[in-house]
């Protein structure tokens, strides 16, 4: 790497070591990067991770299936409903439960809302890192509305614990539909304004264009998935490649980039927010009638009111909680398109009430290792932008 300002031969060159993190305002989570610097230019970087390792996989081996959602909630906490749904689908696949169409559609709406809220965090934080705090403050008002919807659906905002094995814990009330329709009407207006603040902002574009690029070949070799892979030009999306939860019913596009730089990653996420809105619209319009859970009393926890007043429900409740319903032996791999990539669940069941082994394929753990290659030769400000545009979530990364 040649420093253009100082002309000095390799033998006399001295490098500076700079510690970026673990607590740094711009790392958005706890990561440490030990950078070797030649002046302002990054020559090499070494990452340390694991600062919030919480042993999800070990805990999952000690918890019954229905209690694992508290863990999946806290994986990628910007979009925890997607993780929950992914986990429910994994168990349903293992158990061979047939899910009603209505549940599929409800889940799609929940997942796409979560995707929007995740992408908003990522894109507005790219803005914050370039010094544009206004879009962040502006769009977070509307992000709160997604939380309002979640709160109405399940009672929680961030770590929602939403859904159950076999369906959803309760049907949506009228207020949910009202809020959803209101959201679909108001959010595009606000998001258009957010777009105008950034997408055609000369300073912002100058800061992000060409920063931290990666080619499609390298991205694939590094196991990139999600928006980061699509920014490099590969149109791989789990929702299309192996449709789950009736995604094949919806008409949506996969935005792709060309260079895999920060601009492309930003724009792919922007595009995906619009597509998510379209999916929600379609799902809401064509919402099938029916029950909000599958008819599988041996796995679906009955409503609490029935447990108190109905003998049969009480028995099922007892059996599920005490782990007396038979679970098939076997191993399942199920993946969903999480907000930052393919979130996979590899579940090995030995027939017991807890998983014998549960492995989460955590997308950002896998793609974060490409960071040194992407920032080599860049200046430090660009490294920060590359990192925030990769959407690395510490909770998911450290497992």
């Amino acid at each position: 790497m040649q420093n253009e300002l100082i002309d000095i031969d390799e033998k006399h060159k001295e490098y500076t070591t700079l510690n970026l993190g673990p607590t740094h305002p711009a790392t958005h989570g706890i990561f440490q990067n030990v950078l070797t610097m030649d002046g302002e230019i990054i020559v090499n970087s070494e990452q340390t991770v694991g600062y919030i390792h919480r042993a999800f996989e070990k805990i999952a081996e000690h918890r019954p299936f229905y209690q694992v959602t508290t863990l999946t909630d806290r994986l990628n906490y910007c979009s925890s409903p997607i993780n929950n749904m992914g986990w429910h689908m994994t168990v349903e696949k293992l158990l061979g439960v047939e899910i009603p169409k209505r549940v599929d559609y409800m889940r799609v709406i929940i997942m796409e809302l979560a995707r929007i809220s995740d992408h908003i965090v990522c894109n507005s934080v790219i803005g914050v890192d370039t010094g544009a705090l206004t879009p962040f403050c502006f769009i977070f008002q509307d992000r709160e509305k997604i939380y309002d919807i979640f709160e109405q659906m399940c009672g929680a905002r961030l770590t929602t614990n939403i859904g159950r094995i076999g369906g959803l814990d309760r049907d949506w009330n009228e207020e949910v539909y009202r809020l959803l329709r209101k959201f679909l009407k108001e959010f595009p207006v606000a998001f258009r304004q957010f777009t105008n603040l950034l997408e055609r902002n000369r300073i912002f574009l100058d800061r992000i264009t060409g920063i931290g690029p990666i080619t499609a070949e390298r991205a694939l070799n590094y196991g990139f998935t999600g928006p980061n892979l699509r920014a490099a030009g590969v149109d791989y999306d789990v929702r299309v490649a192996t449709p789950y939860s009736s995604y094949q019913d919806f008409d949506f596009k996969i935005p792709v980039g060309t260079k895999g730089d920060t601009y492309d990653r930003f724009m792919v996420r922007q595009g995906e927010i619009w597509e998510s809105l379209r999916i929600i619209e379609q799902a809401l319009e064509n919402m099938p009638a029916g029950k909000h859970f599958a008819e599988v009393p041996e796995f679906y926890l009955p409503p609490k009111e029935e447990v108190y007043h109905n003998m049969e429900a009480l028995i099922w409740h007892f059996k599920i909680v005490m782990g007396e319903t038979d679970v098939p032996k076997g191993e399942v791999y199920q993946s969903v398109e999480g907000a930052n990539g393919e979130l996979g669940f590899y579940l090995v069941s030995d027939g017991g009430r807890a998983a014998y082994r549960l492995h989460f394929r955590r997308p950002c753990f896998i793609y974060y290792q490409a960071f040194p290659e992407m920032v080599k030769g860049a200046v430090i400000g660009d490294a920060i932008l590359t990192m925030s545009s990769m959407n690395v979530i510490a909770g998911e990364l450290d497992g």
Partner: protein, 181 residues
């Protein structure tokens, strides 16, 4: 245009023409409490709720804590939000020791308070194992209102603190029990 901005009440004292007498503790406490510079030590989920707290809907700036200080040297209040693992413990302690006195600590969320649901080999079972904590905020994660409530509780503590508390033997003993000089 009517203004909804309120000014804090002055402490009790003796007032007369051209003078106002009260104890120094109260004046300093009042000033400190309403201009806290928090250092957000956000590690996980609670950090996202903190983003919500800082953003326009809840707006922590209304309580005089607008200015986040990412440098521990200039911070008054350490807000620990999220799981602290055993690997992170020493880092947290170092950040705390770098802060100048007087300093307060707010533990936000179940993980920072007690380890929360993560009773595992890798997670520190509450940050009070490594640094002293002033206010605990329960919840997994707490709502922004709760975080604000925690901040108000800290403000109460700040307001009513004796000026010589930080020099007292009792306080030194407290820090000593954590191995902090």
């Amino acid at each position: 245009m009517s203004s909804t901005i309120e000014i804090v009440e002055s402490p009790a004292g003796i007032e007369g023409p051209g003078f106002f007498a009260t104890s120094l503790d109260k004046v300093i406490g009042l000033a400190r409490a309403n201009s806290l510079w928090p250092l957000p030590f956000a590690t996980s989920c609670c950090g996202i709720e903190f983003m919500g707290t800082m953003a326009s809907n809840y707006d922590l700036g209304r309580f005089g804590a607008e200015r986040l200080s990412f440098s521990p040297r200039q911070a008054d209040l350490l807000m620990v939000m999220g799981t602290i693992s055993k690997k992170m413990g020493p880092v947290l302690k170092q950040v705390y020791t770098q802060m100048a006195e007087p300093r307060w600590v707010l533990a936000v969320g179940a993980c920072a308070t007690s380890g929360g649901i993560f009773d595992t080999y890798s997670v520190l079972q509450g940050i009070d194992k490594v640094i002293p904590v002033d206010v605990y905020v329960p919840g997994c994660p707490p709502r922004p209102e709760q975080i604000i409530d925690g901040l108000i509780k800290i403000q109460e503590l700040v307001k009513n603190e004796r000026l010589n508390r930080r020099n007292s033997e009792e306080y030194k003993k407290l820090l000593g029990s954590y191995g902090i000089e």
